[in-house]
């Protein structure tokens, strides 16, 4: 994999995107966590800070993407909408994660450097 990428960067610019796509396809280690079904999260309201805070970064407060949370399209959209709504309504902080929820069990596939 690493050798392939090195070769591509040597070639002209137009060819690199195409070859990078081929590399991603052959790589089987995708982050889609299928065993944890999205039907766990039945109805998402904007009151629940605890649930919604699990999907934001503790340092910057940005919402994790689909490749990190492993949710399906519909649920990811619902959670994003609920997080934005809670932030606007004044239930959840925007730029950081509420310190009370920092010790939560990790739901997402993100790994921070210790």
């Amino acid at each position: 994999m690493a050798a392939l990428v090195a070769v591509c960067s040597g070639l002209g610019r137009k060819k690199t995107p195409f070859v990078r796509a081929a590399v991603c396809l052959t790589d089987p280690g995708t982050h889609a966590v299928l065993w944890r079904s999205c039907s766990q999260y039945k109805q998402i309201t904007s009151n629940e800070d605890l649930l919604l805070s699990q999907f934001i970064s503790p340092f910057t407060g940005c919402i994790y993407g689909r490749h990190i949370t492993g949710l399906c399209g519909k649920k990811q959209k619902e959670i994003t909408k609920a997080i934005k709504r809670a932030q606007i309504m004044g239930f959840m902080p925007v730029t950081y994660k509420d310190p009370a929820y920092l010790k939560d069990p990790k739901v997402c596939n993100i790994k921070y450097r210790e």
């Binding site: 039945k42 309504m89 730029t95």
Partner: protein, 114 residues
């Protein structure tokens, strides 16, 4: 019993009376507690860092929402008014999870080429 100020009680009474005037049927009033706001909110030329959260359950025609929001935005005691559809009225659809899509077909067309 947490100390309730007479001003909050008067403000709540005013809002519920305004709701009833616009033809709403109030079902429930819930106190979600008084706590520090997640971020400093400036409203009516003043900045607030603490607030009381109240949830009012009510039935109302959709045409009344605009007049309710206009009234609440004029009230000095209300920092951030929000009207949201009741989450329990939304039907819960079963989420089937992530469906694996054959990505090869998307990359190039599988038609027979001479």
């Amino acid at each position: 019993m947490p100390p309730t100020h007479p001003e909050t009680a008067a403000a709540l009474k005013r809002t519920i009376e305004a709701l009833l005037d616009r033809g709403a049927i109030v079902r429930d009033l819930e106190n979600l507690g008084e706590r520090a706001l997640p971020y400093r909110i400036s409203a009516h030329s003043r900045q607030h860092s603490r607030g009381g959260y109240f949830l009012v359950d009510f039935y109302a025609p959709p045409t009344a929402v605009e007049s309710i929001m206009e009234y609440l935005s004029r009230d000095i005691d209300v920092i951030r008014p929000n009207v949201v559809k009741h989450p329990l009225t939304q039907e819960v659809k079963e989420c089937g999870g992530i469906v694996p899509v054959p990505l090869e077909e998307k990359l190039y067309s599988m038609k027979k080429r001479k």
